[in-house]
């Protein structure tokens, strides 16, 4: 187990900066999930921590030791790649043992560790197979096995589940979470998947265009996003964003009317999550609109409502709600559920 500290880490590819000075502290034993849109630098950051990519500027330390110039093999970490990167010409057993034999570990110790990992991951009967004889999920297990046999102080995962089908992904997610509880090793995990991020993370770090937007527990990110980017990135379906004008003690929201709000003036954005938009309730601020699309998901229904000014909002209703296209409805939300952002997109705490 080790902590990881990044300070002012930058990366540029032949002069073109892709990571713009990131400060990040990962506590020992923490499960940190890195999320962000495609191309924002998640993999680059992870690969710099792994030692596969040069650091242009700044320092990275693992277990309080600066590792900038330490080769990957000496950082005492394991990495699981998106494509698994199993050695195609080696049996599963050899794949697991390869790193250990490079460390000149005694044979019986290697055998013990491989057997342990195989048992934990239930791949014992696959040990003599070649990677090409495995299914996607089995390859994934072997890749994780190869990471855990080394008993490293840090695990790095780069979208390890993205090549699996939906069902297997859920299963592996649960298993990974179980593995984390069992090992307690520090993990840094890159993913595109909201559910993976929300369910597995101790904390989530949101990256955007090479900058760290916010880091916090899933609860913090969901309930108190620091800025518009985090607000719209975290949560699926997305938060509804309404633009309004603040005048001293209230905000004028098109459609909804005035909303009491003290402490800001000028252009504002008000965010309301779909589950906080209720339909047809008479109290509170109401806006009139027309249902344009209904998505039935079983346990809930997503209802797209076009307001009179053309803006489309998404509301979530229980699965038994019966709305259909063309229905005229009233939308409302409670002021306490709304998020407020100033003209620069930064969060303003509503005075309670």
């Amino acid at each position: 187990m080790a902590s990881v500290t990044l300070s002012e880490v930058r990366k540029a590819y032949s002069g073109f900066a892709v990571i713009h000075g990131i400060d990040l502290e990962v506590q020992s034993g923490e499960f940190l999930v890195l999320v962000g849109p495609s191309g924002c630098g998640k993999s680059t950051l992870l690969r710099m921590i792994a030692g596969l990519e040069e650091i242009t500027d700044g320092t990275i330390s693992i277990a309080d030791r600066i590792v900038n110039d330490l080769p990957a093999s000496q950082r005492n970490l394991s990495m699981v790649f998106q494509s698994y990167a199993l050695y195609p010409h080696m049996s599963v057993r050899k794949n697991l043992a390869f790193g250990l034999s490079n460390l000149r570990m005694p044979k019986d110790e290697i055998q013990r560790r491989v057997a342990d990992a195989a048992r934990i991951l239930q791949i014992e009967e696959l040990l003599e197979r070649k990677p090409r004889q495995l299914s996607g999920g089995q390859k994934q297990r072997v890749a994780i096995g190869r990471a855990i046999v080394r008993e490293p102080q840090l695990f790095l995962f780069d979208e390890p589940l993205s090549n699996l089908d939906a069902e297997l992904r859920v299963q592996m997610r649960v298993e990974l979470a179980g593995l984390y509880n069992r090992l307690g090793t520090t993990m840094i995990y890159v993913t595109h998947d909201q559910t993976e991020a929300m369910t597995m993370a101790t904390r989530i770090a949101v990256l955007n265009k090479g900058n760290l937007e916010q880091i916090g527990t899933p609860y913090e990110l969901y309930n108190a996003p620091k800025n518009l980017f985090v607000a719209s990135f975290i949560g699926s379906p997305k938060m509804n964003l309404l633009s309004g004008k603040a005048t001293g003690n209230k905000i004028e929201l098109p459609g909804f009317g005035a909303l009491a709000f003290v402490g800001a003036a000028g252009e504002m954005t008000v965010g309301v999550r779909p589950e906080h938009l209720s339909i047809g309730e008479p109290d509170g601020r109401r806006a009139e609109g027309t249902v344009t699309l209904v998505e039935y998901l079983g346990s809930e229904v997503f209802i797209y409502v076009a307001l009179i000014d053309g803006q489309t909002l998404l509301a979530q209703a229980p699965g038994n709600a019966s709305y259909k296209r063309g229905d005229k409805v009233h939308l409302s939300f409670r002021g306490a559920d709304a998020h407020f952002f100033d003209s620069k997109g930064l969060r303003i705490e509503a005075p309670r």
Binding site: A50, L52, F81, Y87, N102, R132, R146
Partner: protein, 297 residues
């Protein structure tokens, strides 16, 4: 009513299938006749040589027919010892030069290719361009400068000029072939190996090379053929008949005393082809196995 129409539909479908099968068969027959004819044209000189190696000298150029009237098996026995030095020596010489060349080429060219494909070093693009340029220079242009170089080194009349350059990654064609192959291998394999504690050499040795057997085998086969058949190199650098390789020795049949022994010469020519054939058969398996293994992802 419905029954009848159903049975006719089935009949039409059967008829249609049969017609299609007939047509496919005709096409296949034509294709095979064409291929057989072309192969015959390609292989004719070889058959001619085989026939000639079994004919008495008088019949070789006089007789139009391929089939030898009498089988002169002693052409082989005679040919083997027809020259002052026996062919045992020539085959041994060729084997030494060829085996060392193949080993040298495969090792050194794959090292160079690995460096170009995977390692970072300064001036990489320039070195690469230089290497590719050597592909365009004909051998005959460098022959004389090379000869002078080796003469100054005192290597003329030894095998060194034929072998040592092969250990110095001199063949850009093989390097290029291997670079192309290495580049297809996912880099994540290297990276996984790096994390697993491999040095660059260990990555080459334990990951890249075993996965590149098809490229290695291809290089080995070509290297074997080119070295075994090489006439000019040995002609320039070898003076003592006892050092001759097989192609040079074959040539001696004509020039030795004016009276050419064609039968024995063709017999030895046939024998000189066998090693290439054997080598190809053995190594070509690696190419096929490699292709079967290339389902990397």
């Amino acid at each position: 009513m419905t029954d009848v129409s159903a049975s006719t539909t089935a009949e039409i479908a059967r008829e249609y299938r049969a017609e299609r099968a007939r047509r496919a068969k005709r096409a296949a027959v034509l294709k095979h006749i064409f291929l057989a004819l072309t192969s015959l044209i390609m292989i004719y000189p070889l058959i001619w040589m085989l026939a000639a190696s079994l004919k008495p000298d008088t019949q070789i150029f006089g007789d139009i027919g391929l089939w030898p009237g009498t089988f002169e098996w002693q052409n082989y026995a005679q040919g083997w010892n027809a020259l002052p030095v026996s062919f045992t020596t020539f085959f041994w010489n060729s084997t030494v030069v060829t085996v060392l060349s193949v080993v040298g080429n495969v090792i050194s060219c794959s090292f160079a290719a690995y460096a170009f494909a995977r390692l970072e070093f300064s001036g990489k693009t320039i070195w690469f361009a230089l290497m590719m340029m050597t592909l365009m220079i004909p051998y005959h242009v460098v022959l004389i400068p090379q000869y002078i170089l080796f003469m100054n080194l005192g290597w003329v009349d030894t095998y060194l000029p034929l072998i040592v350059p092969k250990f110095l990654a001199g063949d850009a064609f093989f390097i290029f072939l291997m670079i192309q192959f290495f580049r297809q291998l996912p880099r994540e394999l290297d990276e996984a190996a790096m994390i697993d504690g491999c040095s660059p050499f260990k990555i080459y040795w334990a990951i890249i090379m075993p996965l590149s057997l098809p490229a290695m085998a291809t290089a080995a086969i070509f290297s074997f053929i080119w070295t075994w058949e090489d006439f000019l190199g040995p002609l320039v650098y070898l003076n003592d008949q006892a050092d001759y390789t097989v192609p040079l020795a074959l040539r001696s049949f004509i020039s030795s005393d004016g009276v050419s022994q064609y039968g024995p010469m063709f017999a030895m020519s046939i024998l000189s082809i066998l090693p290439i054939l054997l080598f190809f058969i053995v190594f070509q398996r690696l190419i096929i196995r490699g292709i079967a293994m290339s389902g990397l992802k």
